[in-house]
């Protein structure tokens, strides 16, 4: 395995997280507390980047963490690393929340997309401010501008590709392609393996 797939920059942490998850799966609350300590910051970060609202973000982050506890017996290492599993769940839940709120408000997609659009720079700033995230920053900056904007709006804003297309006034096909080739470039730059 390449170092890049481990959490942060310390490769020795991931085996620990795997072991902890095995104990959590047996109902070990202390092990869950350790998992909490390791993952809570990125979980909250992901949710908050999508939802923006502090109180709502915390609510969703808590739900995600409780869900990690509940579904721990079903976690399997061959599905991916613990942190990937948890952050994917966190992003999914955050996106679901954004979309359900949007659906409930019956807002026009275009208006919603446009009103959310201009802030992407700010997220990138946040990312770029963290020295320990140097690698992600470097790789993001290696994308073309359109790739960069499309990936950022989708991941950090939770927009659908249609909303991204409307926000950036690009054809749907172009957005799909840019999301894919942008992520592929990031994957190669970060040395990610599945």
């Amino acid at each position: 395995m390449k170092e890049a797939v481990h959490i942060g920059r310390n490769p020795s942490r991931e085996p620990d997280l795997q072991e902890l998850m095995a104990r959590v799966a047996l109902g070990d609350e202390e092990a869950f507390a350790s998992v909490y300590d390791r993952v809570v910051s990125p979980v909250l970060g992901v949710v908050r980047s999508v939802l923006r609202d502090g109180a709502q973000s915390e609510e969703v982050a808590q739900e995600v963490l409780v869900e990690v506890w509940r579904t721990a017996p079903g976690y399997r290492a061959d599905r991916g690393t613990v942190i990937n599993w948890i952050l994917t769940l966190a992003h999914r839940r955050a996106v679901d929340r954004v979309r359900s709120v949007e659906a409930a408000a019956a807002r026009d997609h275009k208006a919603a997309a446009l009103s959310r659009m201009p802030e992407y720079d700010e997220v990138v700033e946040q990312v770029e401010a963290r020295i320990e995230r140097e690698q992600v920053r470097r790789c993001l900056s290696g994308l073309t501008e359109i790739q960069h904007q499309a990936v950022t709006l989708a991941y950090y804003r939770g927009l659908t590709y249609r909303q991204v297309a409307e926000a950036l006034t690009l054809p749907l096909g172009t957005v799909k392609t840019r999301l894919r080739d942008g992520l592929i470039r990031l994957r190669d730059c970060l040395g990610v393996t599945a």
């Binding site: 909250l44 409780v66 992003h91 946040q126 992600v136 990936v151 992520l183």
Partner: protein, 250 residues
């Protein structure tokens, strides 16, 4: 609306940027396309790295809150992973290589919060139904036990509760009649009272006003039984005041 080539959607899928209908169509495609499944799994892992980059410190009190919440949440049963039905159907239909299946499951698990959840709910319901079937014979046995004794009480709002205990069998049955539906997301949980310490005796079906429930566990030395309203899935200890407390016949 969609372009002809679904391969292009791997990125949008990994970023949760597909509307539900297109996501479902893409996931069906994944089951038949090993390269797509591999790429999708890799791009999901890549997206997680974007998440790691925005870590935010939580409010310190949140730790205690989450650790308290999990004590009231029952874990899903261990065993084979709860694969969404779609993935299982794909397995039967297409004889996938083991690798492809693993990748598809990874992808499905990755995004499938809702599908997995629904599947688990269905499994829960099946398990409950099986338990109910087994329960019926046992309930009859308790009610028909030669030493069975009965205690009934009005539970308010016109509801009545009757508890039938067989000390010989060391089992009890609670029969409810006209119980109000618990609030959304809540269930009635039964308890044995062991001299002031409450021990869970299982959950009632929140959807039925009239029901007979075989209380879980042995009556043992319990002197009373109680009912509380608890979050779905039940709690380890009562988290609310009892809606009813009834002494057990001795």
């Amino acid at each position: 609306m969609t372009t002809a080539d679904p391969h292009l959607l791997t990125g949008a899928h990994a970023l949760h940027a597909l509307p539900d209908d297109e996501r479902a169509a893409f996931e069906r495609h994944l089951a038949d396309c090993e390269p797509c499944a591999r790429e999708t799994a890799e791009l999901h892992a890549t997206a997680a790295r974007l998440g790691l980059a925005v870590a935010t410190a939580p409010r310190p009190a949140m730790r205690e809150e989450v650790l308290r919440r999990i004590t009231a949440v029952r874990q899903q049963p261990p065993g084979p992973p709860a694969a969404p039905r779609r993935a299982r159907a794909a397995l039967r239909a297409h004889r996938l290589s083991r690798w492809t299946l693993a990748a598809c499951l990874a992808a499905a698990a990755a995004l499938g919060g809702t599908a997995v959840w629904q599947y688990e709910r269905a499994e829960d319901a099946q398990r409950q139904a099986r338990r109910a079937e087994q329960g019926t014979a046992e309930i009859a046995a308790v009610l028909a036990a030669p030493d069975a004794t009965t205690r009934a009480a009005a539970l308010g709002d016109g509801a009545t509760g009757t508890v039938v205990v067989s000390r010989e069998r060391d089992e009890a049955v609670f029969v409810a009649s006209g119980m109000a539906r618990p609030p959304a997301g809540k269930v009635y949980q039964l308890w044995y009272d062991d001299g002031g310490t409450m021990r869970s005796a299982g959950l009632m079906d929140p959807g039925r006003a009239d029901q007979a429930v075989l209380m879980e566990g042995a009556v043992d030395g319990a002197s009373a039984m109680g009912i509380t309203v608890e979050p779905e899935g039940g709690s380890r200890r009562p988290t609310s005041d009892p809606v009813a407390l009834m002494g057990l016949p001795t």
